[in-house]
Symmetry: C2
Subunit: 203 residues, 2 copies
């Protein structure tokens, strides 16, 4: 019997996008149950002394990251559009509203579809996911009633839940996104998804 896997993701993270677009298919093929778990990298990066993404802090790393994402997206047949970095807040995007909405939506069966819609808004269409109307459109497209879930996104419950997810991630030793956990075993990076699934299938 396969152990369940938790998928820790951040809506501002392009590698999380790659995982989000493929995880349900590969996990289903492997027979592994996946829990989608949004969190924020900002507070975790801040604890490491970074005030933004390492891809922004280290230019050589950042430049190759975008190229790597393009190559990987092509490999997975996932559409990808580089964000227009001249736009303020284009990268990393402010993902707080999206993550709070996701926590509300993930109690519904269409939660993962909502998350994929948000990721596609960010990395296929280069939309500003800090905008409520962008998030509301994703709720509708995924099959929810936008007024209900947008109301929940702004509620205290979701705010607290997101903080708890982020604290939990930090306690597990998570330092980047996406990450995958199976019991206490931690895997970092979209390129470790297959390893994490294999781990879940071990005795």
């Amino acid at each position: 019997m396969a152990r369940p896997l938790t998928f820790w993701f951040e809506f501002a993270s392009p590698y999380s996008y790659l995982s989000a677009m493929r995880i349900d298919a590969v996990a289903e093929a492997a027979g592994v149950k996946v829990t989608w778990r949004p969190f924020l990298l900002g507070p975790i990066f801040k604890a490491q002394g970074w005030d933004t993404s390492p891809f922004s802090i280290y230019p050589a790393k950042g430049q190759n990251m975008w190229r790597d994402i393009e190559r990987r997206a092509e490999k997975y047949a996932v559409p990808f559009k580089r964000p227009d970095l001249s736009r303020a807040g284009a990268f990393p995007q402010n993902s707080v509203l999206a993550a709070r909405a996701a926590i509300a939506c993930l109690s519904e069966p269409w939660g993962p579809e909502f998350c994929r819609r948000v990721f596609r808004a960010a990395f296929e269409k280069d939309l500003d996911i800090s905008q409520p109307d962008v998030i509301a459109d994703c709720v509708e497209a995924a099959g929810g009633v936008d007024r209900i879930y947008m109301h929940m996104a702004y509620s205290h419950t979701q705010k607290v839940a997101l903080r708890e997810h982020t604290d939990h991630a930090q306690r597990l030793g998570i330092y980047g996104a996406p990450s995958f956990t199976v019991d206490s075993e931690l895997f970092w990076g979209d390129d470790r998804l297959e390893d994490a699934l294999e781990w879940a299938l071990r005795d």
Copy 2:
């Protein structure tokens, strides 16, 4: 006709070790010619404001890195022993002498075997590769006359060549090890070796 691939490695890097132990086999199977190219990460990290490995600077990242290396080594059936981090200089090791010796040895057909011996000394046996006798043993084991190549390792020519390799890596936008280049296309990380080989085979 496959384009040649350059394998940029650093003897202090555990992920470079994983690539070194498997690159000749996978590249030969793919029909891709590989050039082994040692360089130093120290000056490149310094230019980014780091005085040591990011795995030492960021504890959560470092802790998971060792675990990830163990899992990957098992997957590739490569022996691996975590360095005893209580020993001064255990990680990252000073790899200057090893890299200078490698440049001399890589003009011989047994050069890659010398490099693998050094990597195994570091990551299979946890030996101090800054020690001349450790490097001399690797020369002998690979099929060279240790006196000759140790003499070359200390020569001005090798010192200059290593600096040039490192400058070249930096100009190419390399920021970590291992890296793979095919013409101007740059791939970072042991987990991108297969992608780099596929790239080399593209028209």
